[in-house]
């Protein structure tokens, strides 16, 4: 039997809470079956730090709250054939976007200076820290997104079904995903 080429899947959590990734892991032992059909590339699950240039599917959790998020999102778009927005934060900014009506300086002042219990606080300014954006943005405002999987978080089952439906449309090769269910 000739072995089918595995789909390369990359995932990342931008301005999200990792709840979507946890929910993805809720597919439990079906992950083993899935792994016969896919391999993880860049992902918090593998700790690989950059995308291979030939990823089939990129799954993005979370919106954009800082400059690094934008950088990572662009890297995913460049290297993944299909990009999926997973969960409310990626789709509409979600919880982090609830800061959007407040000026960034007001938020930083309150968090690091004026909250009760803070003595001589300072706003972190290490050059290694990515700069926060003035507002949190959904990812489709920056790159083209092929499929959306709503929910906060989408359930494990939905994760599979959603990915299944989205990749299923791309042709027979990607049928591996539904088969894995």
């Amino acid at each position: 039997m000739t072995e089918k080429k595995k789909l390369k899947v990359a995932t990342t959590s931008l301005a999200g809470c990792f709840g979507c990734h946890m929910s993805f892991l809720d597919i439990d032992e079906r992950l083993f079956t899935l792994l016969e059909h896919i391999e993880f590339d860049r992902s918090p699950l593998t700790d690989i730090k950059t995308c291979s240039p030939d990823c089939d599917i990129g799954i993005i959790e979370g919106g954009l709250c800082n400059a690094e998020n934008v950088h990572v999102l662009r890297e995913f778009r460049k290297n993944c054939k299909i990009l999926i927005a997973m969960g409310a934060c990626a789709i509409n900014g979600g919880l982090p976007a609830q800061r959007n009506h407040l000026p960034l300086t007001t938020i930083l002042e309150e968090v690091y200076h004026t909250s009760p219990g803070l003595a001589n606080g300072m706003i972190p300014n290490d050059p290694e820290l990515p700069l926060p954006l003035n507002q949190v943005h959904p990812i489709h405002e920056v790159v083209k997104i092929d499929y959306f999987m709503p929910g906060c978080p989408p359930s494990g089952r939905r994760n599979l079904e959603g990915a299944d439906r989205s990749v299923g449309r791309q042709g027979a090769r990607t049928r591996a995903w539904p088969d894995a269910l």
């Binding site: 927005a85 409310a88 789709i91 509409n92 900014g93 979600g94 919880l95 976007a97 609830q98 959007n100 009506h101 507002q135 943005h137 959904p138 489709h140 405002e141 997104i145 499929y147 959306f148 999987m149 709503p150 906060c152």
Partner: protein
């Protein structure tokens, strides 16, 4: 005397003076809508209830039924337009369902589900709309307001009080309270 028209091929009876949406709902056929409420005069502003009547787009909540009309509602084209309108409503306001008390009992949310809205599609406005919490019993949550004018009609036509009105034009349209300070707490508004 009874008349009929067809809605997506189904024969719908109607009485004199009934609008398309009234006759459809009496016959158990659902047409998506947001600013229409059976107990108030139609406003015809959200356009979610748009149907095609004899080939022309029109709001089914304001259009009177007439005998022999051919009405189309559940077509892919019309539902795509309804979905686009719903997406615009979502991005123009701040509709954060997970923290909203109305979640699960919200016509805007239900409409988005009904139309299979998977994403906002457009860029979010994230407008700054402070809530009006000046009244002891009523909280005005402007972030969720879609300008359906149901509160305006309820207050004006049923309570005879004229507490609310829509002011401004286009994207600047907003809800105002009939009080000098503009805040609900200054108006003798009573809940219940």
């Amino acid at each position: 005397m009874s008349y009929t028209f067809t809605l997506d091929g189904k024969v719908i009876p109607f009485a004199d003076g009934q609008t398309i949406i009234q006759a459809a709902s009496a016959a158990g056929v659902f047409i998506p809508h947001l600013c229409y409420h059976p107990e108030f005069k139609p406003h015809g502003s959200c356009k979610l209830c748009t149907v095609r009547v004899n080939g022309r787009h029109t709001a089914s909540c304001t259009m009177r039924a007439s005998a022999g009309m051919v009405v189309e509602s559940e077509t892919e084209e019309i539902n795509a337009e309804r979905r686009a309108l719903t997406q615009m409503l979502f991005v123009e306001g701040n509709h954060f369902c997970p923290s909203c008390e109305q979640s699960g009992n919200c016509q805007l949310q239900a409409t988005a589900y009904h139309l299979g809205m998977m994403s906002p599609h457009y860029d979010h406005f994230f407008p700054n709309r402070p809530v009006d919490a000046s009244h002891p019993e009523v909280l005005l949550e402007f972030n969720r307001c879609i300008l359906c004018s149901l509160c305006v009609r309820a207050s004006r036509d049923v309570d005879g009080k004229n507490v609310f009105a829509l002011s401004g034009r286009g994207i600047k349209t907003h809800l105002i309270v009939n009080a000098k300070s503009g805040a609900a707490g200054r108006y003798g508004l009573r809940a219940g």
